[in-house]
Structure formats: C-alpha cells, structure tokens
C-alpha cells in the first residue's frame, strides 16, 4: 500500500512547475525577433528586482508586452481546458469526454458571439460589458452540456457511444451557427471564424477580462478540487459512490457548473481549442495514476505546458506568418485521440 501523501503531491507539482518554467523561458526566446538567452535572463532578473528602467526598450516591448501576456493567456487557457476535460471525463464516466469533443466549446463560442452581438445594444458600463462575453460563453457551455447529457441517455443510462455521437453532432451544428453569425454579421470574416472554431491566442484580451479569467480559473478549479475524493468514487459508479458516502447530486452540480465555467472562460478569450482537455488528463493518468487529488493539479500544469508549447510552435513554424493554435493541437491531438479510442473501445 502506498497511498497518496501531501509531500508526494507537492513533489509531482514542483516537477511540472519546473518544466512549465523552462517552457515559458523557451517560448519567450522563440519568435520572429531573435532574443538571446543571456539578454532574456538579464531582463527577467531586472524585472524581478524591479529595475525596469534598465531594460532595453525593444526587448521590453516584444517580451513583456507581446510574448509574455500571450504565454500567460496560454497557461490559463490550457489549464482551464485540461481541468474541464478531466472533470467532464469523471462526471460523464466517459474517458473520451472533453469540452471540444462534446461540443461544449462550440456552445461556449456561440454564447460568446451572441453576447458580442447584443453588447452594443445594451448601454452598459465598460467593466460590465467586458463581463458579458465570458457570461455568454459560460451559459452557452452549460446549456450545451445539459443538452448533450440528455441526448446521450439511453433508457435512463448514459451510453458512451450515444453521448459521443450527441457531442459530435452538437459540435457540428453549433459550428454551422458560428459560421452563420460570422457570415451575416461581418460579411465572411474568415479570421473571426478561424478564431471561434479553431482557437487562437494571438488576440490579447482586455486587462479586466484577463483578470476575470485568472480569478475564475482559481475559483472553478478550486471548487472542483474540493470534490476530488468524491470524483474518485464517482468513477467507480454512482450507486457505489452513494453507498460509500458521497452526496452524488451535490458533487455533480458543483463539477458541472465549475467545468462549464472553465470552458466558458477559456473559449471567451481564445475560441474553441480542441484536444487539450481530452489528451492531457489521459497522459497525466498514465504517468501519475487516476486519483483525482493528483490528476486535477497535474492536468492543470500539463494543460498549461502543452498549450504554451503548441502556441509557440503555432507562431514560429511558418514564421513570420502564424497558424491558429487549435490547428497545432489538432495535428498532434487527433491521431493520439484515435489511438486511445481504438485501445479503449476495442
């Protein structure tokens, strides 16, 4: 017997945090404008010691105003999607569930677009108006999970295949709606379409939206983490969980709302990025086991690492031009998804 201890959990997390740090430094260095590792280190230290006046001005602009905000955005979006994916997998008892596959990301995108459309018609204070898109995305996500859940029921039981089909059909339907909105409203703004359907980290959100994203992440991920022990039992089956002392209804409500919030927040700033929520929890399960007390934090770090790497590749492989980051995650993720599906359902 080797049950989880706090020190083991912290050890795992510090290893992942160290990897994330290295990835962030590499991501800061890479790009159209070359930055030397020495210059980067010197500037980072100067920022740490609050000697910002000594920074060389061109570096400051590129690193601290362009690359770093984008990397931070990638960290929070990746962590949100990955934790949401792990949560949906436990909630729906389906190893192939994730916000993108289930159409939840597309639902959040539709919600965000609707919020963007109605926003100018409402006379709102700028701070409130900034909240409207994340709220719309959250509502879109929550409604889509509800719909897909009920469509996935078969004789009152969640059926794995039916659920996935319901999700895929919903995703395609909602993508068509996104297409419709983007075509009629912006006269075929293909860049906008690519943003909502593939995901993109190149548009930095307003400061207040970034703050909402960070605050919302810690709130929602924290709420899910309080149910980590319950999720372990819920995976063994709802009846079993109930007889072992889990308040199944409360846990499901908390996780459902919080995972929808995570998805909504991520989508409202980055569009629908696929495969992070599906594959990162799987890889973390293979490495650290399926205990949610470990899985949720390691998946958060893993999602952040993966998305920062993917975004760095997205903006450098065809430099000076850029790919949407969702194209990058799909190129790597889709084959891995198929492999896992063949292995699980065979």
């Amino acid at each position: 017997m080797r049950p989880l201890t706090l020190s083991r959990l912290l050890a795992y997390c510090s290893v992942l945090a160290a990897i994330l740090f290295v990835v962030v430094v590499i991501a800061l260095k890479m790009g159209a404008v070359p930055v030397s590792l020495y210059g980067l280190g010197r500037d980072l230290l100067r920022v740490l010691f609050r000697q910002t006046s000594q920074l060389s001005s061109e570096y400051q602009l590129i690193i601290f105003d362009i690359r770093l905000p984008r990397i931070l955005l990638g960290i929070f979006v990746g962590a949100s999607l990955s934790v949401a994916g792990a949560s949906f997998q436990a909630l729906l008892r389906n190893p192939l569930a994730d916000p993108y596959v289930l159409g939840v990301s597309s639902g959040a995108a539709v919600g965000a677009i609707v919020a963007l459309i109605i926003e100018p018609h409402l006379a709102l204070a700028p701070a409130v108006a900034a909240l409207l898109t994340p709220i719309g995305a959250f509502l879109g996500a929550a409604l889509t999970v509800t719909a897909v859940y009920f469509l996935g029921l078969r004789q009152g039981q969640i059926d794995s295949g039916t659920l996935l089909l319901a999700g895929i059909i919903s995703a395609s339907f909602l993508s068509a709606i996104i297409m419709f909105f983007m075509s009629t409203l912006t006269g075929g703004n293909y860049r906008g379409m690519a943003f909502w359907m593939m995901g993109d980290l190149s548009t930095p959100p307003q400061r207040v939206v970034s703050l909402i994203l960070r605050f919302g992440f810690f709130l929602a991920a924290g709420a899910i983490y309080t149910t980590a022990g319950d999720l372990n039992l819920l995976l063994a089956g709802e009846k079993e969980a109930m007889h072992l002392g889990v308040d199944v209804r409360r846990v499901r409500l908390v996780v459902y709302l919080a995972a929808s919030l995570l998805t909504g927040l991520a989508v409202s700033v980055s569009g629908a990025i696929g495969y992070v929520g599906l594959l990162v929890p799987h890889v973390m399960r293979l490495i650290f086991g399926s205990d949610h007390r470990v899985l949720l934090p390691t998946a958060a770090f893993g999602g952040a690492i993966v998305l920062v790497v993917a975004d760095t590749l997205a903006r450098t492989v065809i430099s000076p031009s850029e790919l949407p980051v969702g194209a990058m995650t799909a190129i790597a993720g889709a084959p891995l998804f198929l492999y896992l599906m063949r292995r699980r359902l065979a």
Binding site: T5, N94, P95, T226, L233, A236, L244, D247, S290, R293
Partner: protein, 287 residues
Amino acid sequence: MSSYARTSSAARPLADAGDPNSDIRLSVEQVSYAYSANPSQAPLFTLEATSFQVRPGEIVAILGPNASGKSTLLKLIAGALEPLSGRVLLNGFVTHTLPHRTRGQRIAMVQQESPLLFPSRAWEFVLQGRHAYGRTLRFETADDILIARNALQQVGAEDLSDRWMDQISGGEKQRVILARALAQQPLLLLLDEPTLHLDIGAQVDLLETLRRLAAANRYTIVVVTHDLNLAGQYADQVAIFQKGKCLRVGPPSTVFQRELLEQVFQTPLTVELGSSGRPRVTVLSAK
C-alpha cells in the same frame, strides 16, 4: 460542512433507550414501495408492507424468484430509496434520512460492480471504503491504512493488495469488494447476490467468511440470494418474497416448508433436515 451541524438533530434515535427491544439493530417496519413510469399511472411494481427485525451478529437471507422485490427491499434498507410507507430503522435512526456521510459510516453495500473506467489496485479500492470518514481533501491516515489492511486480512486477501482489480479472478474480486465494505466499519452489511458469478468453492468460502465476520464483529448482515441451500445453511432468518409480497420470515427450519417453496419457485422439490438441524432443499426433475 453543514451536514455535520445537522447530524445532531437528524440523528436522534426514534426508539426509546428503555425499549425492551433495544438489542434490535435493524428494524424494518411496515415498509412498502411502488415503482411507476409516471405518477398518474398505476404502479408497475409494488412492494407490499414488510416487517422484520434483526439483531447484531445475525444473518438474514432474502429469497425469492426474479422480480419478487428482493433488491428493492435491499435499497430501502440501505436508505437509497424512500419508502412509500413505513420506515427502516438502524439502531433507531431512519436510514433514508441519514446524511450521506453518516450512512457511509454505518451501512455498507456489496453489489454487482460497474466496470472500472480506469484501472486501480486492490489496496486503492479498499481504501475507498474509508471515504466517509475523511474530510474534504484529506489524505489517508495511518489509521485508514491499518483498517484497510485489516479488512483485507479478514477476508483472506492480504496477498491481493498490490494486484490490479481487472487482473484478478471473480472470487478474488468479490473478496476485495467485501474488504472495502468492511473498511467502512459498518453496523449493517448488505449484499446483493454476492455469489452470482462465483464457483461453488468460492460461494461456500464467502458464506463461511460472512458467518465468521457476523460472529466476530457483530455485523448485522442482510443478503439477497437465489441459493436456497446456502441460505438454509448459513442464515439465522430467511424472508421469502413472491411478486412484491413477503410471504414468511423466520428461521430456515420453520420457513423452509415444501408446499411454500414449491409454490413460490414453481418447481417440485423436497425439503429434509440435515444432521446439523439445517434444512436441505433438493430440486426434483419437473417430469
């Protein structure tokens, strides 16, 4: 958690301390239930008022053909369903109003398992039984580990501890599942057809274990089973159900009457008393 605060009032025993029946642990009092597709329609299945009482250390077997209401009764006893009328008392507490956590500490259920989504080791599985004793985000204590280890030992499965749950035999798995129930340190142990997929040796083994545990740990055990002879041999009381109706409750030697069993199971059979004073049932060929 707010449920802790509520425990004190909700958990006050309904029975008097001076009650002459105070050594009764489980009391099923006129419990009934009805399933229906929707409230305006006639129920598809009803369980008629059922009563019996069980003491610590006793085993009750619930017998009957398929769809006779056995599993429904077990869910009512577990507090998973709210009875239509009547109540189930465990040491004087109504089972279905107990907070989830308290229920997980007092009642353990061994049932047909859902398939595991992700593999786990036997010791992880047994530690799940300690969930109801932990607070949010707590890590397992040395006590939990000791209790889980003891539970595995009591069912003779300590050597399975590090094995994966999907790589052990049906009989071994059933023992680990029983160990998880023991790790809950329950007052009441409920088993839903625990011998279903076991070979004869493993069946006898399991019932022997239950008998021993009931005596040693003073568990009250309720087991739903199809096997008349195992029930006749190991149970202190048997309850016979047919089409949602409890026909007879009592010691096997008085309940196992040929006419009754033939009528309930629609099969010609003979009942004879063995040397131990336990009845043996032999099913005769229908021809």
